[in-house]
Symmetry: C2
Subunit: 359 residues, 2 copies
Amino acid sequence: VKIAVLGIGQMGLVCSGILAARPSLSKRTDGEHEVVLWAHSAEEAGQLTQTRRSPRLAGFALPEAVRVTASMAEAVSAADLIVSAIPVQYIREAWQKAAAGVRDHAKGNGAGVLAGIVSVAKGIENRTLLRPTQIVAECLGDNPDSRPRPIAVLSGPTIAAELARCLPATMIAASEGLSEGGAHFSEEVQRLFATSWLRIYTSEDMLGVELAGAMKNVIAIAAGVLDGLQAGYNAKSALLARGLAEITRLGTAMGASQSTFFGLAGVGDLATTCFSPEGRNRSCGEALGRGEALADYLKRTTSVVEGVATTRSVVDLAKKYRVDMPITEAVHSVLFEGVDPIDAIGRLMSRELKRERVG
Amino acid sequence: VKIAVLGIGQMGLVCSGILAARPSLSKRTDGEHEVVLWAHSAEEAGQLTQTRRSPRLAGFALPEAVRVTASMAEAVSAADLIVSAIPVQYIREAWQKAAAGVRDHAKGNGAGVLAGIVSVAKGIENRTLLRPTQIVAECLGDNPDSRPRPIAVLSGPTIAAELARCLPATMIAASEGLSEGGAHFSEEVQRLFATSWLRIYTSEDMLGVELAGAMKNVIAIAAGVLDGLQAGYNAKSALLARGLAEITRLGTAMGASQSTFFGLAGVGDLATTCFSPEGRNRSCGEALGRGEALADYLKRTTSVVEGVATTRSVVDLAKKYRVDMPITEAVHSVLFEGVDPIDAIGRLMSRELKRERVG
């Protein structure tokens, strides 16, 4: 299979590594994959090609077989499968460039070849409030009456630094569309990415998987704030439970399946994001909890902190769907309204005693 | 209110400290509480009285106002409220002693005085497969036709070492019965225990709260095994999600409310138990993961590891209710069947790829 991976952030690197390092397990594709990795800057593409290392993911070595390019046309024009690993607020820009060169996967492009798009980004676009797969579809201008293009979301508790070390992990492959052979596209993706250390489950709730992946980053910022305040595991676990309740409320109000939020892509991803010291959203929150200004933190980090922009989008969605999201509101107040983290946490803890309400 | 706290384990100490340290917030009870703490051994009672310290909970100081006794009759005979903090496999023995002296709370014992029993233990009795409140009720020989005795469960993400330091935390107070004044007993318990740093929610699902508290200890042993194997946060978060799914399956099969498992007493407690380095069940699992024998670990620990005995009970319940619990089975195989932890984990990770099933 000819694969283009778009984006040289942590997940782009990790996916390139997984797909290039071994023959496919897919029944429909034998032999090695050919992986091209697209970088948004020619300078970084050059560095990656030469050093095979990235400041974004310590300890990771990009396999020699992966070709790195800064030319979008070169990356996508021959690709059967495109893995979109671009930070959410930049997806539109990148896919507008990609659109002209993308092959028409919906019509099939050769028997026995896996064809489609896999999205691994986690966030919601500001203003449009669209999910990654919706942005991609919009950029491709797909005709809603034609056969849907195979597109899947790959998500789950996957701190990239651990994937880079091949530590055991699980993911969810979710899709709604069918591949040209009639098999559920998520099952193709499952076989494509599964390794001895990476176990993949399938799901049909693409909406829920994308929403859960986006919203957990907001809760993780709050978890980091608690860490910065040295509040302890009990407080962080309470936050996880109450955070899960509020993202589930919004998700189900938007039509997602409740069970997705209680699965690997929901509570599983939320847990690793809130507890792993390597999580970027948690680390950002921790800096805020210690008293650092958001602008200063973002200046000194090499990675995009998806949860920051996504907090704006989730607050907008909560208003649109009239869902009460006190933790998300608190994160918004700390990030964008100058509220002191201690005051924000204090307000959450001193709300009126009441019955527990979940979902 | 005259309060007897039974048990000098971590939760018994912490509850004594919380209740003795401050005036009640309860509307129905003014002034200070009088707290008596029952210890199962005269020697330990003497040490606690003298030193106010316990090897079971580093850094904790028992308030001077708390009287410690090894006489069960002395502890319970004057008590309006009894807090049961005895390790689950020892509840029957202790409450059989207590039964004769316990006042008849069901009939009321003076206007305006909070009366009833609060259980904080987390486990399932071996062989009988009863929950803590069921064991207590059986020991008291309550007439099922008479007005139910007010009894509540207090549970949630509450690693005792953090409570001892007054770090922010949340709990669930769950009860089915009504107190003599007609108010829901859980609301009385809520007001009794709530402090500025401890937020308490109420629930009517006593069954679910007790089952979740018991079963999370089994999952925490598995989480500890992963820590011992240095498997990482992704693996542990996947375990948390899949563990939550299987304990929810058993809980709902037994008649508990699904939402309890997705709340503070469910996923919240599960998270802190799986991630806090101070959790006893997690620590036990970690020792096993590092290759230590169970018997050796139990010999060198000062606290009861509830999850070990409870694993037997949960496996029995899973059989009885015909629920598939692969993680609990794996823990059982490591604890009692001599299976190597690496093999047990490997078996879990290599099960056939499939769709995610939650609840």
